[in-house]
Structure formats: C-alpha cells, structure tokens
C-alpha cells in the first residue's frame, strides 16, 4: 500500500502545490489502492481509469504552467452511480439502467471537472437510492471496509466505503433521508447533507425531489469544507437551487464570540431504539462540547415514529412519480416479451426493478390514490410542516442540535431485517431531511466490536460552516 492514500484532500493539495508528487502519481496511487481493496470492499461499479489518468496529466500540465484551478485541481474522487456522467455508464445500481449511457453531465460533475477534480469511477448504492445497506443494489455487493462482515450502510454505501477504504479522498453521495450520513457513520467517515437547494440536483437521478440533496463524504471536516466550497451556488438548471450566503467553507471561523448553544433531543437519546454504545458516544460528544464552553439544553421533538412515517410516505409518493419514467420506451431496460403497450410497461418494469423499488413504488402510488391521499400523503405533508416548524423554532434558540446519526452501529450483512427495521436506521436522520436543514455526521470513536460510532450535528439553514467548525472540535478529541 502506498502511504500516500492515507492523506487527506487538504494534505494532497499542499503536496501537489509543493510539487511533492504529481496528480498522475496521486491518481495511480488511488487506482492501485482500488485494485488492492476492491475484491473485499466492492465499492466501484464502473471505473474511469483511462480518462482519469488523462485528466490528471492535464492537471499536472496546468500546475507546471502555474495555472492551477484551486483546491480540488488534480484531486481524485468517486461518484455515487446516480449522478449522470456523459458517456460513462450511470446505473442507479439497477438492472433498469444497467446499460444507460447519459448524454449529459450532472451539474455537480461539470463543477468538479471544471475545478480539475479527477473522477476515478462510479460507486455502488442501494437500487435507486432505496435502502440503508447497499444490499438492494442489483449490480454488486459492497462491504464495510472496517469489517467486511458488516454492511457499509446506504444508500450511498459505495461512496462511504470508497472514502473509508482510502480508495478516494472524497466522494459524492445523495441524501434523501440519511443516505449520506448513515453510511458515513457506519464506515467512520464524515458525511454532510447540506441545506436543501444549496447544491444543484440537476443530473442527479431523483428519488424524492423535495428531500433529495447532494451529499459529501470525506475523511476530515477541512476536506468537507473544501469540496462544499466548490459545489454550492445557484444553478439555473435546477429551479429549486438557491444561492448560499457563504462561498468558502475551508477556513471556518467562529461566527460569534458567544458560547455555542447546543440542543440535545430527549427523544433521540432516551429512545429504546438507541443502542447503549451510540448513547454513550453521544453523551461523550456532549461533554466534549461542554468542556469547550458550549451551553447545552434539552429539547423535545415530535416523535421519531411520526417523523419516520411522514418521511416514508412523502419519499415513496415522490419516488413513485419520479420512477414512472422508466417505462422501457426511450432508454433503459425493455422487455423482450410484450404483446401490447400495457404489457410492455408492466413487464419492463417488473423485470427491471428490484423488490425494494417495487415495494416503494406500490406504496407511494397507493398513498397518492384519490381516496387515500388525504389519509396518508396530505397528513404526511402536514406532519412535515409541523416538524419543520419545530426544528426551526429550536434553531432560533440554539446554534445546533446534537443527536446520534444512527440508532446503532453498522449491522451484519444479510441480517434478516424487515424493511421496516432497516428503515429505522434513518430514525435520527429524517428530521433534518424533512426540514431541509444542513446536517453533518461526524465519526466519534468506535464500539467494543471496533465498529465506528458517530454523532449528527444539525444547524439552521446555511450553517454548514458552523457545523464543520464544531465537527473539528470533535475530530481533535478522536485523534
């Protein structure tokens, strides 16, 4: 193993700038590490080796001329396979799109390539981002690099595993209800879901549009800030995207001199679902912040049951709508054996989608039918409104909310969990998703089995800088 791959993005930047090694050398180092680790980790679905090396050579040429493009120039990364990449297979880990070759790049891909970042490949995920273990992928198995008997979490399991396995310094994922934060927690890396709308979703294949966020996975908070700085900004191709009031998250300075006010959520500490090791880590994180002068307070949120139910209904209803376009007509899988239009639809979809995707499409369609929507969809939207209001109310009194990221550490692969049990992994994560708030999962120690533990910081809209700065305090303790 080349020790180089251990370094953080920020360290690579400094080294590249010093000409200690070239981007080509760096890219090779990671490609070699991918080759070495993949048989066990299984994060990648598609590699972009040749083009990556070309791009790295171009970056080196720029450095030689003193025309470097900044923080991410020449730095390798991985993309969850639900971001469209022009001419590079984009599958959503589904048979439905197993051969889909997008004719365009997602806006974040354009931004990263304009910044000089080097795409090493596309990584595994739960099919269409539906799941929390990456086990619903139709195209491959991904294992937790910390312990391959365990799942990497999901749906951005490939992204988290690749970063944790030192296969890339950073990766992008997507977070709809915890899909970046939960795998980050399971694999022991940093996972950020920013404020809804601050990063363009254009070209990120939609799961639930009103919840979907581009998410970041890195090994340090500085790295997260560097990538975030490159990605935020209004994109005219995404009508829901917004301008972030800050543009630099790299050097985070305290926003005010007064002590940090941190809210702890009673329900997410005392709930029976929260395992003792997670509770213990959370309490320790609270102590660390208190020692650093933070003022802590206890708050109450609407029940996790209600939040999870609202999330399930809304995300399924939107997913059913977003996934209706996979009809076998224009692209993606088409059945061989259709006699008429209806059977073309039914068979293409039956053959192309996996069990979890079908379950959610059926569920989401049912929730939206004329005689059921007021009972489910409309109520879920009301609940969402109430949860959002409450979160915002808390964040007027506190700078941030501290909770566990997940109720438990990673679970074993192939555990016979019901879909409902698997979804409970999102218990703590869905609040921030429903409210559109920024949230950061910070690795915080390990349990007695050696599995990573993590806490989640949730802040007011656009408070990513504060979250990263707070994460840094916690990081320092862990080192």
């Amino acid at each position: 193993m080349n020790e180089l791959v251990r370094r953080s993005l920020t360290e690579h930047r400094a080294a590249l700038d010093r000409r200690e090694y070239s981007s080509v050398e760096l890219t090779h180092a990671y490609l070699n590490e991918i080759e070495r680790r993949e048989p066990i980790v299984g994060a990648f679905l598609t590699l972009n080796t040749e083009k990556a090396i070309q791009a790295a050579a171009q970056a080196d040429a720029r450095f030689a001329k003193g025309e470097g493009r900044g923080m991410l120039d020449g730095i390798p990364y991985a993309l969850k396979d639900n971001f469209c990449t022009r001419g590079l297979r984009t599958t959503c880990a589904s048979k439905m799109l197993a051969d889909f070759m997008p004719p365009y790049d997602a806006s974040v891909v354009t931004r990263l390539s304009d910044a000089g970042a080097i795409l090493l490949g596309k990584v595994n995920m739960d099919e269409f981002a539906m799941g929390s273990t990456t086990e619903t992928s139709a195209l491959g198995v991904t294992r937790n690099p910390v312990n391959p008997d365990y799942v990497p979490g999901g749906s951005s399991g490939g992204s988290a595993a690749a970063v944790a396995a030192l296969e890339v310094p950073f990766a992008l994922g997507s977070d709809t209800g915890g899909s970046v934060r939960q795998p980050a927690a399971f694999c022991g890396v940093l996972g950020m879901k920013p404020t809804y709308g601050v990063i363009s979703r254009y070209g990120m294949i939609a799961l639930a549009s009103s919840l979907d966020c581009v998410g970041l996975l890195t090994r340090t908070s500085d790295d997260c800030g560097a990538v975030l700085s490159c990605l935020v900004g209004r994109d005219e191709k995404d009508a829901t995207s917004v301008m972030h009031p800050n543009s630099q998250f790299f050097k985070n300075e305290r926003i005010s001199e007064r002590p940090l006010r941190v809210a702890v959520v009673r329900e997410l500490l005392e709930d029976d679902e929260i395992s003792p090791d997670i509770r213990c880590a959370t309490v320790r994180a609270i102590e660390v912040l208190r020692e650093r002068g933070a003022e802590l307070g206890e708050v109450s949120l609407p029940s996790p049951e209600a939040a999870l139910a609202a999330y399930c209904v809304i995300s399924a209803a939107e997913a059913a709508s977003n996934l209706a376009r996979y009809d076998g007509i224009r692209y993606g899988r088409t059945t061989d054996g259709a006699d008429d239009l209806f059977s073309l639809y039914a068979k293409s979809r039956s053959e192309g989608f996996g069990v979890e995707v079908k379950r959610r499409i059926l569920f989401g369609t049912y929730m939206m039918t004329e005689d059921k929507r007021d009972l489910y969809y409309d109520r879920a939207r009301e609940a969402r409104g109430r949860i959002g209001e409450r979160m915002h109310q808390i964040l007027r009194q506190y700078d941030l909310i501290l909770t566990p990221t997940t109720p438990t550490a990673a679970f074993k692969r192939g555990s016979a969990l019901t879909p409902t049990q698997r979804r409970r992994a999102d218990l703590c994560a869905v609040y921030a998703s429903l409210a559109g708030l920024p949230a950061l999962s910070v690795p915080f120690g390990r349990n007695t089995d050696g599995l990573p533990l993590a806490v989640q910081l949730v802040g007011a809209p656009y408070s990513e800088g504060l979250l990263l700065e707070t994460a840094k305090c916690l990081e320092e303790v862990c080192q």
């Binding site: 294949i205 549009s209 209706a324 224009r330 939206m368």
Partner: protein
C-alpha cells in the same frame, strides 16, 4: 319528445399553443415542422436526472390571456404533476396546474340571435404539450419535438347551447389571443385545439344530463358539426329510452359523426402531486399591471370604436376586428378616406375574396382602396365600375383616378344620354317591355341590366332606374305587323 324539447349543455376546454421561442421547461426551440426528434434535449425527453425550469415568457403570455379574457390573475400559483402512462408522455406525468391555476373567473362575449352573451371562463392554466405519436406500417413512432411546447388550457363554463355558439366562442377566442400575440392561432398546425363536453337535458330542467367528451377538434367547422351530431345522437338515445354513457369520443370528419374512443366507467385518477422540482409562481401586482398595459386594443373594443368612428354597421366592424391585421389594413385605408363605410364594403364584400387569409395580407394597398371608395362616394364611378377596378388592382397596381379619366369610366349622370340609351334598349326588347306592361315586375330588372350593358356599366344606377320607370310608364309598344 322531439329534438326541440331538449337543451344542449356544452363546455369547452381549449388548448392553445403559446407563441414563445422556446419550450416551457427547457430551451429547445418550438418551431413547427422540423425533422422529428431534432428539437429535444434531456429535459423534454424526460431523461433520468433532468429537471424543468419554467419559461417565464409562457407565464407572461398566460397572464395576458387571463387579462384579455377579463379574468382574475392569482398572485401565487403552483404547478402539479398529472400522472399517467403513455408513450407520448416521457416523464409519465404532465406538468400542469391542477390546484391553483394562473387565472380564474374570466368571460368571453359571443353574439347570439338574442343579443350578446358572456360565456364564463372557469380557469386558465399553463401546461406542457405531449410528444406526437406517428402510426405507420404497423409501428408507432414518437416525435418529441412537440414535447414540452407551452400550452394554456382555457376551460369554459358549460354555458354554450349549440355547435354554432361553440364555434363562435372559439372564433372570438382565437381572434383575441392572436391579436394579443399570445398564440399564432394556426389551427391546421394544432396551435389551437379543443375538447368539448356535451350533455343534453329536457328544456327547463335544471339537472345536468350525462356528458360525453369529444377530443381534439382542430377547426371551427368540425367543432360545430361534431357538437350538432353529438347533441342529436344523445337526444335520439334518450327518445329511444336508452341512456347516454359517460365516454370519450372523437369526430370522424369523413362521416360527420362522432365515434367512441373509450368508455369512462370511473373518472381517471391522475394522482396529482405538487411539482417538487419547481418553486411556486409569484406574480406581483406591478407585473400583472405591466402585462395588462402591454395588451393591444381587444377585438371587441376595437369593433366598437371602428363602428363609432367610421359609422360602420356593428356586424361589419366585428368581422373586421376578428383579425387584427385586417382591422389594421382597414384603418389605414379609412384614415385617409372620406368614405370609410364604402371602403369597408369594398373590403368585406369584394377584396377579402382575393386576400391571403393566413396571415391576412392584401394585394391592393390601403391607399388604393381608399381612392376607390372616394371615386364611388363622390359619384365619379358606380359600384360595378369600382368592383371591376378593384379586381384589376389585384392583378397589378395603377392609379385608379387617372385610369377612370383615361378610359372614360366615369358614370353617366347626364339625363339626356341615359334617356337615349333607355329608349334604344326598349326598342330592342319589346318582349320584356310587354312583360312589364303585363305586370311582370321582374322584367324591370332585366331591362335595367341591359341599359347597364349598353353603357358599359357606366350608367348611374339610381338615376337609371328612376328614368327607366318613368319612360316605361309612358312607353307604347308598337304592335307587331
């Protein structure tokens, strides 16, 4: 019961293509007639990950339509997904407005034999057009050029009572929207097409009958005929004791009948969902006002003004104003003419036949038309000469006043000359004279025509008629030997 014991209840849903350069949710051009699938992109093809962004011009045009139709524009509205599977719908949902539309509560005035009537407009909303399916050689092909072309749907109250009224409503609607630049109104290209809801009920009944929907009518005539047929069909069903079924029908132009497309046992469930990829649409009072100020004079107001300013009969003024270009042409002639009413007559009864109708353009300049009206008005030429000159002007331009002089086309007002012509005519047509004397007044017309012919159409008609009558009274038929 007979047909006349029933009343038809008719409502129209008109789809109007908006005159924007680009599509409603992407920047593909909207031009008609391009090679299939050359006007599309990931967005209007519904590719994974593609997202819509709203073309604000489409919203503006919809607001203008709302204001032109006297509606209330809402300060805040949203877009919704109307979800169903069909190959012409690449996302498997159409982005439309189910809940809150751009505009509510408008009306449109139509003329009926019982006077003008305002037909209520329930709502106007924006939506995207679907792709076009082409069925050929046992296959179905999809052309996505039309997918995402901006439309407004204008839904009327069920206040129309006949095919004629529906066609008049459409005609007026088209005229307003075209004159405001909201649509090009080209019906043969599908820029304006309508679905019709029809039911019948016994006269005087307040209860609505079961309705059928006739889809996708793209001409005034088809709309009128389809409705007339459908009303008759429903009445006959009821008279035979059968029930009208809720169903969707289409009009078959060849047979002049409506035919069944599909039955609707239950209303389709479109599972409407607020479009999460688009923010709400805000319209400030200032913006609405600015758009209202940008509206040109509406056809109805213009007709009233033309009628008043130029002394035109209301009906003529309305016909002129159905097409803004025609009205513009008339006004430029009338403004330099002392006899605008005559100019209108010449235009409507003669010239219009020789004009390109789409878009209106005249082979004769407005200036020439005004001169012809003047020659007529001041009595230099009679109407038949004026019409002949107009026809000649259609073939090539010349100065009418000079030609009249040069060719001696001025009408004959000289009593002596006219009397001579009449006497000669009577002498040559003893049978007609005898008929007249025997009480056949029609013979008078024929004799008058012959006098006209004898003077190469130059005899002044009123004077000629007067003289002819006078002479005939005293005229003695010479007995044949």
């Amino acid at each position: 019961m007979k047909l006349s014991d029933f009343e038809a209840v008719i409502g129209l849903e008109v789809h109007v293509e908006l005159k924007t350069a680009t599509k409603i949710f992407c920047s593909c051009p909207t031009d008609f007639g391009a090679e299939p699938n050359t006007r599309c992109c990931p967005i209007c093809m519904g590719l994974p990950g593609a997202m819509p962004t709203l073309n604000r011009r489409a919203v503006e045009l919809a607001v203008m339509a709302g204001l032109a139709l006297h509606g209330t524009v809402l300060p805040l509205c949203r877009t919704d997904r109307k979800q169903y599977f069909y190959p012409d719908l690449p996302k498997a949902y159409q982005i439309s407005q189910a809940g809150v539309p751009i505009c509510r509560n408008g009306y449109l005035t139509i003329a009926t034999p019982d006077g003008d009537r305002d037909i209520g407009i329930t709502r106007i909303h924006i939506e995207e057009d679907a792709a076009k399916l082409i069925h050929a050689d046992g296959r179905t092909l999809v052309d996505y050029n039309r997918s995402g072309v901006p439309l407004i749907e204008i839904v009327s109250e069920p206040q129309l009572r006949s095919g004629k009224e529906a066609a008049d409503y459409l005609r007026n609607l088209r005229s307003i929207l075209v004159s405001c630049g909201i649509t090009d109104g080209k019906m043969q290209e599908g820029s304006l097409r309508c679905d019709v809801n029809v039911s019948v009920r016994p006269l005087g009944s307040a209860k609505l009958g079961v309705r059928t929907e006739i889809k996708n009518l793209n001409s005034f005539a088809f709309t009128e005929k389809a409705i007339e047929y459908e009303v008759r069909r429903q009445c006959e069903l009821i008279c035979r004791g059968e029930a009208v079924r809720m169903e969707t029908r289409r009009y078959d132009a060849a047979s002049g009948k409506t035919v069944l497309m599909r039955t609707k046992e239950r209303a389709e469930d479109y599972r409407f969902m607020t479009e999460p990829d688009l923010p709400p649409i805000f319209l400030s009072e200032e913006e609405i006002e600015t758009l209202g100020n940008a509206l040109p004079e509406l056809p109805e107001a213009r007709a009233a003004r033309l009628s008043k300013t130029y002394g035109l009969p209301e009906g003529d003024a309305r016909i002129l104003c159905e097409d803004a270009l025609l009205a513009d042409y008339f006004e430029s002639a009338a403004d330099v003419c002392a006899y605008p009413r005559l100019a209108a007559n010449l235009l409507l009864s003669e010239l219009l036949r020789y004009c390109e109708s789409e878009p209106f353009s005249s082979p004769v300049s407005a200036r020439r038309l005004s001169v012809l009206a003047e020659l007529m008005g001041e009595g230099t030429v009679n109407s038949s000469t004026a019409k002949k000159l107009l026809l000649r002007l259609c073939e090539g331009d010349f100065d009418p006043r000079e030609t009249v002089e040069r060719e001696g086309l001025a009408q004959i007002l000289d009593t002596e000359l006219l009397t001579r012509a009449i006497m000669e005519t009577l002498a040559e047509n003893p049978r007609a004279v005898a008929d007249y004397k025997n009480g056949k007044t029609a013979a008078m017309r024929s004799l008058q025509g012959r006098v006209m012919a004898r003077t190469a159409g130059r005899a002044e008609p009123v004077l000629t008629e007067h003289l002819l009558k006078q002479i005939l009274e005293e005229y003695e038929v010479e007995p044949h030997v």
